[in-house]
C-alpha cells in the first residue's frame, strides 16, 4: 500500500463557508502511544526513529485493544525535520535508507509492523503534524478506512542543524538571495520580528512571557510522554527565563522548543467502532488546514493576527462551537512568541486582541481557572508536536493525571504549527 499522490489535498478543509463538518461526531480518537523521548538519536538501532515509531504504534493499539489485522489506515507526517543521515553509510534493512532513521513513512510502518489489511496510506504531509490528524479524520468519515494509525515521528540527529549547506556558502541562491545576504537565517527570526511589532502595538513586553513559559515547563513535567518528564531537570524559573540568552532578540533560548528524537502514534476510528474499544472515545468535531502567504518577505504581526482570525473563524464554524464552549485550548507554541496570536483570535476565556500577555500573568496553572495549554505544549514536552493533541484526548477522557484540569473538560481545540500554516482539530467528549 503506497501513498497515492494528491489525495491529501482533497481531504483537507481549507476554506471559509464550509459549514459544520459533515462528519462531526462520527469519527473518534481513542488512544495514543509514545516512545521514549531522547534529546538525539544515539545511533543505536533500537532507539532509531523507526523503532520508536513501532513502539508508539503498538502502544496505541494495545491501549485501544486493537489487533494489527484490524488496522486499515496508516497516515504519517514522515519528516525529515533536521539533517539527513546521509552521506554516512546506511545499515542493514530496514535501516538501509533515510526511511526509518531521519523520517518514517506510512509505508515503512506498514511493512515493518506487518500490517496486511491497509486500504488507505498517506505520507504526503512531510512536516504536517497537524494536517495528518485531519486527513485521517476525513478519510475515516469518507469511508476510505475505518481504523487508522496516525504517526508523528520526529527525528533529531547529533550536532546543530542548518549550519552547513547554503548557510556556509559565500553566495545565496533561489529564495535565499532575498534574505540571506542580510542574515535572515535564524530559527524564529520572523516571529521575533513580529513579536516586537506586537509589543509596540499593544504596549506589552518580552518579560511578560516568563510566567507563560515557566507554566508550560511545569505542565510538561507532569506529562509522561515529554522530554522534561523523562529527563527531569531543575524546574525552569522566571529568573532562568529572564536570564536566558538571546537567539534573535526578542526570542530567547527558552522561547524555542527543544528538538528531540521520539515518535507518537494516534489511533482514530469510526464513532461506532470506538464504542467497543477499551478507552472511551473522544469525538472529532472538526478539522482545518490553513495556509497563508505574506504580502512581503516575512509575516508581519498584523498579518499573523489576521491569519489567527481566519483559523478561529473556520474552526468555530466547522465545529459548531463558540469561544465560551471551548474547555481545553492547546494552540501551538513551538516558538512561544506566536502563541498570543491564537489566544487573541480564538478569544478563549474572554481574551481579546492584545490581551494574551496580560492573560499570562493570571492563574494559568492546570489547577486554576484558566488552564491554558494544559499539555505543556511543545515547549514543555519537546518538539514532537503531539502533546497538544494527546492532552485533548486525555483531558476529555479524564485520564490526564496530575494535569487533569479542575474545570469542565468536555470540548477541546488544538492546532499546529505556525500562524501562516496551521492545522487544527476540535474534539468533544460527546458526539453532538
Amino acid at each position: 500500500m503506497v501513498t497515492q499522490k494528491g489525495v491529501a489535498a482533497k481531504l483537507y478543509r481549507s476554506k471559509d463557508g464550509l459549514g459544520v463538518w459533515e462528519h462531526r461526531g462520527k469519527v473518534a480518537a481513542v488512544s495514543y502511544g509514545y516512545s521514549p523521548c531522547d534529546r538525539r538519536w544515539d545511533e543505536n538501532l533500537e532507539h532509531s526513529l523507526g523503532a520508536y515509531s513501532m513502539i508508539a504504534a503498538k502502544k496505541a493499539l494495545e491501549e485501544a485493544g486493537i489487533r494489527l489485522d484490524q488496522v486499515d489506515g496508516v497516515v504519517s507526517a514522515p519528516g525529515p525535520i533536521g539533517e539527513p543521515w546521509a552521506p554516512r553509510p546506511y545499515f542493514a534493512p530496514p535501516y538501509d535508507s533515510e526511511d526509518g532513521i531521519s523520517l518514517v513513512t506510512a509505508e515503512w510502518l506498514i511493512k515493518n509492523m506487518g500490517l496486511k489489511n491497509v486500504r488507505f496510506a498517506n505520507s504526503e504531509a512531510s512536516r504536517g503534524h497537524g494536517q495528518v490528524l485531519g486527513m485521517a479524520s476525513q478519510a475515516i468519515g469518507e469511508g476510505l478506512c475505518h481504523t487508522c494509525l496516525v504517526l508523528f515521528p520526529f527525528g533529531n540527529l547529533a550536532g546543530r542543524y542548518s549550519q552547513a549547506g547554503s548557510n556556509a556558502r559565500e553566495t545565496a541562491t533561489g529564495n535565499g538571495q532575498w534574505s540571506m545576504p542580510w542574515g535572515w537565517g535564524a530559527a524564529g527570526a520572523g516571529f521575533a520580528y513580529g513579536f516586537n511589532q506586537y509589543c509596540r502595538k499593544y504596549g506589552v513586553n518580552h518579560d511578560m512571557m516568563a510566567p507563560f513559559v515557566v507554566n508550560l515547563r511545569r505542565n510538561g513535567r507532569m506529562n509522561p510522554m515529554g522530554y522534561y518528564a523523562q529527563h527531569p531537570e531543575e524546574p525552569l524559573t522566571v529568573e532562568d527565563y529572564l536570564a536566558s540568552r538571546w537567539v534573535v532578540k526578542p526570542l530567547c533560548l527558552h522561547d524555542a522548543d527543544r528538538p528531540v528524537n521520539a515518535a507518537v502514534c494516534f489511533l482514530l476510528t469510526t464513532a461506532d467502532r470506538a464504542k467497543d474499544m477499551k478507552l472511551p472515545p473522544v469525538y472529532v468535531l472538526n478539522h482545518n488546514n490553513n495556509n497563508f502567504e505574506a504580502r512581503g518577505l516575512t509575516h508581519t504581526a498584523e498579518e499573523m493576527g489576521q491569519f489567527g482570525d481566519i483559523h478561529a473563524r473556520r474552526m468555530y464554524e466547522g465545529s459548531g462551537l463558540t469561544p465560551s464552549e471551548v474547555d481545553i485550548f492547546n494552540p501551538y507554541d513551538g516558538f512561544t512568541l506566536f502563541t498570543q496570536y491564537y489566544l487573541d483570535a480564538f478569544g478563549w476565556h474572554g481574551v481579546k486582541k492584545g490581551e494574551a500577555l496580560h492573560f499570562y500573568q493570571g492563574d494559568i496553572r492546570v489547577e486554576g481557572p484558566h488552564p491554558f495549554l494544559s499539555s505543556g505544549g511543545n515547549n514543555g514536552t519537546g518538539r514532537t508536536r503531539a502533546a497538544i493533541f494527546t492532552d485533548c484526548i486525555e483531558q476529555l477522557q479524564g485520564r490526564a493525571g496530575p494535569r487533569q484540569v479542575h474545570i469542565k473538560a468536555e470540548t477541546a481545540i488544538a492546532g499546529c504549527t505556525m500562524p501562516h500554516t496551521c492545522a487544527w482539530m476540535a474534539f468533544g467528549k460527546y458526539p453532538d
Partner: protein, 154 residues
C-alpha cells in the same frame, strides 16, 4: 558586513543588474499597480505576466520593524553578531518589505518608523551589489536643504 552574494537567476537578473548600476527597481504590475518583491513570474493579484514591468523607485523608505540577531545560521555573518535585522517599507508601496542591517545604527537601538535611504554595498562572494539602508533625515528636510539658495554675500 560581509554579506553573502546573491546569484541572479532569470527572473531576478534585472533587479540585481540595476543594483550594480546604483538603481533600485521593482517588478510592477501596470494593471494592478502592485509591486512584487521578491519578483514573481506573474502578478499575484491578476496573474498576468504581460503587465509586469520593472520600474525604478526612489530609494526612500521607513523602518517597518526589526529584531536583533544573536545566533545566525549564516556562517559569513556569525562574527558580526549581534547585528540589526530590520525590514524597510518602500515609500512607493509600504506593502513591499526589504531587509536591512542599518549600517550606522547602534545594535538594538533601531528607530522604528524612521526614514531611511537606500545605498548599495558590494558583496565579497561575486562582487554583486545589494541594497542596504541607512537612517537619514526625513525626505522633506533633505529636499529643503537641496533647494536652499546659497547665502547672499554681503
Amino acid at each position: 558586513m560581509p554579506k553573502q552574494s546573491p546569484v541572479p537567476d532569470k527572473l531576478s537578473k534585472p533587479f540585481w543588474d540595476a543594483c550594480n548600476e546604483g538603481k533600485l527597481v521593482m517588478l510592477t504590475c501596470t494593471a494592478c499597480n502592485l509591486m512584487q518583491y521578491p519578483p514573481e513570474a506573474t502578478c499575484r493579484k491578476c496573474n498576468s505576466a504581460e503587465k509586469l514591468v520593472w520600474k525604478e523607485v526612489s530609494g526612500w523608505g521607513k523602518i517597518h520593524g526589526y529584531c536583533t540577531m544573536y545566533d545566525c545560521r549564516i556562517r559569513l555573518l556569525q562574527a558580526e553578531q549581534p547585528f540589526n535585522l530590520a525590514s524597510i517599507a518602500l515609500e512607493e508601496d509600504p506593502g513591499v518589505l526589504m531587509y536591512a542591517n542599518l549600517p550606522g545604527t547602534p545594535v538594538d537601538e533601531v528607530p522604528v518608523g524612521a526614514t531611511v535611504k537606500v545605498e548599495f554595498v558590494t558583496t565579497p562572494g561575486n562582487g554583486q551589489k545589494v541594497p542596504e539602508w541607512r537612517v537619514t533625515e526625513p525626505r522633506w528636510k533633505a529636499a529643503k536643504k537641496a533647494a536652499r539658495p546659497a547665502a547672499r554675500k554681503r
